[in-house]
Assembly symmetry: C2
Amino acid sequence: VPVVGVIGGGQLARMMHPAAINLGVELRVFTEAEDSSAHQAAYRVGDYLNLKNLEEFCHGLDALTFDHEHVPTELLRELEDLGVAVRPGSKALIHAQNKLVMRERLTELGLPMPAWQRATSSGEVEEFLNQHGPKIVVKTPIGGYDGKGVRVIAEVTEISDWLSDLNRFGGALLLEQKVDFVSECAQLSARSANGEFKLWPLASTFQQDGVCSEVVAPYGAPELQEKAARIAQRISEGLGVVGVLAVEMFVTSEGELVINELAMRPHNSGHFTQDGCITSQFEQHLRAVLGWPLGDTSLHAEFAVMVNLLGVDQENNLVDHFPAAMEKFPGIKFHSYQKLPRAGRKMGHLNLVGQDPKSLLAAARAARELIYNKGQEV
Amino acid sequence: VPVVGVIGGGQLARMMHPAAINLGVELRVFTEAEDSSAHQAAYRVGDYLNLKNLEEFCHGLDALTFDHEHVPTELLRELEDLGVAVRPGSKALIHAQNKLVMRERLTELGLPMPAWQRATSSGEVEEFLNQHGPKIVVKTPIGGYDGKGVRVIAEVTEISDWLSDLNRFGGALLLEQKVDFVSECAQLSARSANGEFKLWPLASTFQQDGVCSEVVAPYGAPELQEKAARIAQRISEGLGVVGVLAVEMFVTSEGELVINELAMRPHNSGHFTQDGCITSQFEQHLRAVLGWPLGDTSLHAEFAVMVNLLGVDQENNLVDHFPAAMEKFPGIKFHSYQKLPRAGRKMGHLNLVGQDPKSLLAAARAARELIYNKGQEV
């Protein structure tokens, strides 16, 4: 039986499990805690920053992959030296772990990016503000996610705390031009360990407070889709990615794409593929890291939409109110991550396919409202 | 978190697991053996014929359901008396456990059946042979599956062993007219504990040596589909089924339907729903036993086909050769039950959706051949 190990017990590892069960692949998850979202596939619980733990976990794996980007490159290199099939490999993954390394490398590849700069002093920040202000974006190169580690500033004093604590972020900050965009999109793709590359349809993404909120696919005119496809393929092949790659991009008023973020794993912007496509991002990721041929990424219908379910409070676990929404919306697919409820926490999502994106989104939002309001119409 | 318990660790329990993970339902499987197909969801391993074991297992369940029909009615009644939500209940399930009880009850409901009779002596068998011969079908009322417990006979001596051992089968045999059919079909439906009823499209089924081999959906002219739908609903409501119901039927040359077998659980004839329909039989079964609203059963495409993967020998585990078939058929969905290989054993299946059933079947068969032949074209 093929065996895939996953470091991290979040919802992404959880959602690899159904795909693994179908394919007959054994999934072993290294989780941080007994009650993690992926607990049903937990094989080991403990500290994944300990090399000995990791070595033991990797015994018998056909491939090692990730639920998140938090395993330091040095540890991954040690595992690679021991012969573990780390996928994506440390040389690729560093670009998803460190945003400065990513900006440097994508600049070398000639890809469209916001103006950016490495900064270690308030002087450099002020100069960048003068050049690209009145507002700029400042990011911590490592450890950010879902809007964390990102600030839009007009004054250098707004990041005094970061500047006085640079060692936490690898010694520098990333400064970026604030891109004037009309929309955001994500190009999901996968590259197999055997080199095969496949794309899903370009998706339109909507963020709220830095967190992915809604996704609609497909998105954009053919020329935009081709641009996005070329960018994704250039990154995937240029960086030697193995597995799913999500490229989040801004669309400018001139119809140009500007790369915002990368992730080298299944990604929130690709959850629509679970119920919307022949092959989901979770199945494709497993195929890719095992070096298997990739599956058909076609949509099941003209359009697919996804809306995230965020925690309302510590009382409403959301899943208790799925039935109320199921009754009104028999075509919606319900996903719960089995997490303890907390306001703003990613708790699950809804998928829906059909012909008209507006009515699909309206239905998914209405279902979400029912769940948020404990089954009561408001 | 809603909790569903399943007795039996076969592939049907295994395939309920992805649906449970998506819905955020905790699935607890009571398996016979550590290495069962559903081992990743195993909560307890042991003897499910022991009431104390069952009682302990049922603690904390929102619903108890089944992978097979082998739990005696008396044990289920005891659990029901203790307040366990046994679904389907013992009063319904008995019709899927005992074919004589099924024939009696469906006759009462006025449903189309082959001529049949209860027999306890060779004289009764000879009389039935004279009336309905030259060949008749003899079935053991309990314990049969996949062609086991079924014989087509021309002479009473062909079942001497069964007649001399009647106690093994509940004291009698079931004699049936050998129906002259032009095709076979299966009507899959589900009924929720809340009374809601939903049908999937009628499916055409092909058996080889008594084992389901291939399925194509949808099947039949609208009038045939309506007949099948009425039969399924009458059985589901008449017998008080909760969960998925599969009704296997013969189609005669006059276009009449004759009921062959029933199953009150997800069924091989419904595996196409996993990748072919908005809601799979496994998800629907969980919704139904929890008393949740049922999901949309529409097909994702014009047609869906399924072909079973049977064991070739003790060497070929099939999954090792999935990649060879994946390379040629990126749209096929691969399912492995992670069972030890054995000739003729149900090891997995392939699903495929599209516009033309003939080319879909041809592709699925070609993929199956590649897997059977260890990735070599023949």
